[in-house]
Amino acid sequence: MWAFIQKLRSPKWFYAIGGKCQPWFWAAALGLIALGSVWGLAFAPADYQQGNSFRIIYVHVPTAFLAQSIFVSMAACGLAFMVWKIKLADMAASVMAPIGALMTFVALYSGAVWGVPTWGTWWIWDARLTSMLILLFLYIGVIALRRAFASLEGGARAASVLAMVGVINIPIIKYSVDWWYTLHQPASFTITGRAAMPMAMWAPLLVMVVGFYCFFIALTLTRTRSEILRREGGKRWVRELVEEGADGL
């Protein structure tokens, strides 16, 4: 484990490793998402109650999962940066934040759209959607705080602390919102709460979720490598690498 942390301290090693396994993740993401989309849209059975608007689940659930996982991984990177002083972790965290915010927004949008055919309004204060909305505000807070500091270093540390404070609050917020929702609308049908789904329905969902996670890993690898180029431009190995001519992306 300790050797791994030592390796992580050098962006040079990560840049090389990232370059090698990045194409694999992009390919996996493309393949899985394409397969999941076709399977979920065309072949999966429609829901007996909601009809075909149920197919939005194949987009809403993966983005919702990613939204939460990205915040947790951002907080983990923040912890690694604050405790073990791994600069690379902060580069990854600063790159993940916008991705997470975008995923949360899309999850919110698809959840709201999903509610329209059944409720007739664009926004319903469903427990999960409300938690998702609060998560979006947490993301915006972390991004705004990182950019508010004049020095890169100060912004990085402040954002790491806020990410860690935020990740502790996510479960608290989630349970208090669920409790609040059941208090005010006890017996209503929650859009995203599902009884057990038949295999034909959840199989494409699993493919889509794995596809989205591969997409996230691939995207983070690529963007972190760009961040390394931006931040470590002065270093010798970066200059030599760039001077060798177009290296593999």
């Binding site: 998402i33 989309s37 849209l41 065309a42 072949f43 999966a44 059975p45 429609a46 009809g51 075909n52 608007s53 197919r55 939005i56 987009v59 809403h60 983005t63 991705i99 975008l102 995923m103 899309v106 949008y109 698809s110 759209v113 999903w114 329209v116 055919p117 997409f215 995207l219 690529t222 963007r223 490598r225 760009s226 180029l229 931006r230 431009g233 002065g234 010798r236 970066v238 200059r239 760039v242 001077e243 177009a246 992306l249």
Partner: protein, 102 residues
């Protein structure tokens, strides 16, 4: 295949607007993120190359030296005289009354 024809597939049993809106936004977001990452990488490389052209010599960045001249107290300093500390700046006279501005 859950649909009879392509037209039926497009119509999504009357929920076309919602399904395609949600899916459209998501796939658009995926595409946008991918393209953004691609151009971001290329931009970073291009900026770096332009920066390199401006500073051709691969000189290690100018780390400003810090010179340390500790006044040698006549009595007590002898024991603490470590080699690292003895980087007496050449040329600066080590007089006791350091009047002249360095």
């Amino acid at each position: 295949m859950a649909f009879d024809s392509l037209a039926d597939f497009i119509a999504m049993g009357g929920h076309a607007r919602y399904v395609w809106a949600a899916w459209g936004v998501t796939l658009l977001m995926l595409l946008a993120l991918t393209l953004f990452a691609w151009f971001e990488q290329r931009l970073a490389l291009r900026v770096l190359r332009r920066h390199l052209r401006r500073t051709p010599t691969l000189a290690e960045r100018q780390v400003p030296k810090a010179s340390v001249t500790l006044a040698q107290a006549p009595t007590t300093q002898a024991t603490l005289q470590t080699s690292a500390q003895a980087s007496i700046q050449d040329g600066s006279q080590d007089s006791t009354h350091n009047r002249s501005a360095p």
